[in-house]
């Protein structure tokens, strides 16, 4: 059971790392917008603009 003296502090260090990573992510703005990134993956950039501009309607 002596291993606990090593495991528990290690666990706390890992949690500390996780908190640090989370703080970095928050400071980096990764939690500011939780809605649009989900869609970003679906919106491809691979459709080129069509060569001819569309006819503008009379307005």
């Amino acid at each position: 059971m002596e291993i606990l003296f090593f495991m528990i502090p290690m666990g706390i260090v890992l949690v500390g790392l996780a908190v640090w990573a989370f703080f970095w992510a928050v400071g980096n703005g990764q939690f500011d917008d939780l809605d649009s990134p989900a869609y970003q993956i679906l919106l491809d950039d691979d459709q080129p603009a069509k060569p001819t501009p569309p006819e503008r309607p009379e307005s």
Binding site: F31, D35, S36, L42, L43, Q47, S59
Partner: protein, 819 residues
Amino acid sequence: MSEQPVCFHCGDPIPPGERRSVVIDGASKPVCCAGCEAVALLISGAGLENFYRYRTGPSARPEDPQDGPDEWDAFDRPKLQQNFVRDVGEGRHEAALLIENLSCAACSWLIEHSLRRLPGVSEVQVNPASGRALVRFAPEQVTVSTLMRTLARLGYRPHPVGAGEAQSAAQRERRLALKRLVVAGFGMMQVMMFAVGLYFGAFTGIDAVYLELLRWVSWAVATPVLFYSAAPFFKGALRDLQAKRVGMDVPVSLGMIIAYSASVWQTLSHGHEVYFDSVTMFVFFLLLGRYVEMAARHKAAAATDVLTSLIPATARRVVDGVEERVAVEELELGDVVAVRPGETVPADGRIVWGQSRLDESMLTGESLPQPRGMGETVVAGSLNIANPIQLRVEQTGQNTVLSTIGRLLDRAQSERPAVARVADWIAGRFVVGVLLIAAAVAAYWLPRNPELALLTTVAVLVVSCPCALGLATPVALVAATGRLTREGLLTARGDALETLAKVTHVVFDKTGTLTEGRIAVDEVRPLADLDGDACMALAAALERHSEHPIAKAFADVAVTETADEVSVIAGAGLEGRVAGRRLRVGSPEFVAALSGATAPAIADDGGSWIALGDEQRPLALLRLADRLRPETKSVLDELRALGLHLEIASGDSHEAVAAIARRLGIRRFGARLTPADKLTRIRELQAAGAVVLMVGDGINDAPVLGGANVSAAMGSGTALAQTSASMVLLGESLAPLAEGIRTARKTTRIIRENIGWALSYNAVTIPLAAAGLLTPWMAAIGMSLSSLLVVLNARRLSRRRRQEICPPTTIEARMGEAT
């Protein structure tokens, strides 16, 4: 609902006879107007059809594209740019913009892509949550006005925002709260894990050395939770103490500090029990409740730079007969400013040239544009509709009527009647009570059995750890607000739900709340053989030639024929030739005069009637009115069934208000009320013991919304109204109101049940603990069970009745459509 086709782009109904369409992804889609058609073509032409696949709602109807110089040109002036454009080095500038109608991820994608296509634009960052965009560009390749014009043509009107505000106060607050919450969450999980070891050890026996280890690490983890995460509670408590009042923060902080210090003492003195797990859990759940409350508040206040959106950024100053664009801040008293039709008045002033009609509905609630002539005053924020005018500036900035209303609002909010929050009140008193009991227990045991004294005192404190009490309100509120947001009612203030449950009177604004807030043809009464639609088409053909506000009512009507030889007879109507037929539209007398008939009789019911006629006879009577929202009547019936008293308080004319009140069966109404009058009326009701819910949308409603016990602003209303209201009705509907009141009542009931349960649990366990009969594991199980029960009870709130569930538009469904 009727099966009227809706515009593919903006979602508005397509006017009968409109035959425009666009081809998107190989299929023809109907659109409602030239503007939408242009934008849809622009989007598909640029290869950006993806926008339509992934947007979550209809888009904003774009402005009519116009050529030549426009308002955006002024933004190329360095003086105007100094506020929102900054030099970021390497020959690049960065503009910070607040964007209207930015509602979903697809919108931000569309904006990013259409701006990136402009030469010289290097980076675009759009945040739909805050409605802000940052654009980096090379100033020698592209101008700021081009960027802004591009956005406006897509239907997203940009406003400049100070570069410093790009990271708003709200964002900083949210980030900090999130960090605190996560530290508390991680800490809670860790300490709980150690606590399991300790509880288990209490059953089966544990070596002293491991017991010490687990206690010391629990202490280490609980410390940052207490001093970092719980800091806001301590600050709040200090503030309360300095102000000599006892809020919720004082007992909560006291409880946390005592439980923590007792645990530290026990750890150091090798005592019987530590309570770090209770402390961390308490902090986490309290923070969770506050975080959810804050997130809802931010969402409601998002994208509100109130003044920038109402007062334009630029004005046309007239110097020696020449107009020049200047920033509104540059205007001084005595300057002469030109305001063209369709522009917003930049400052309070007096007309020195011209006459026009001004839409002041945002400020006064008046649904019809008001005529204003030479020498009359106009107020900043109102919209010029008919003719160009020039005015001499009399008040600017802070002194305008608009700013005055803002100040009235501040005062009303600070005077908002304080509603005792049942749960907080009980929890606060409870904690104080527990402390007194603990002190009494200590005083009792100390002379008799000093060893047992500390143990029992701490046992009392922990067994009564207000976990269930602390959870009772937040979990119920979280469940209820979540559910109401899905229904379309956003709660922006924490106390809104509790107050909503007690509401006795509902006061409605009229224009834009009960009604749609724009003039439309309400009713067509054919007088001859021609049917209603044909008459509408003829009238619309004539009205296309008019700048008069009435013509706006016909803007949605498709025109099949064109009118020529149109002449405008001021104060009477229009005359012209359509398909070889001589027609008049306008006042009934004027129309009847063309055929020599007597004017058709009209019922006096608050609407304004105009007529259409040819040389033989009058053809039809058309009623112009601000239409009631389709759901208004049924919602009011539901509210009445809930036992509420209904009232209308409007700034509109007596006849118009009376007519609406009669149609809705509302007996009490006030017309021609100023914002101050409305506030007085609310105060009267409150003085008589009523709890008032105010529903409104305009700037003029803002002080009243702030002063009522609880208030709801229309989602389509002005930003100022929304920030002052405690709730926002998302979408264009009153429908969630009744559901909101029902849910609020249910929430209060569930909170009471939870508190009742927590109190009775404590009534049993505290005496046991005081007598020294309670072992740690009993206390732990009891505490968990009581918390669990409270959470499960609150879960009942988020359950919906089956028939209310409507299929959500999932990504899968959209994908299916797209392929």
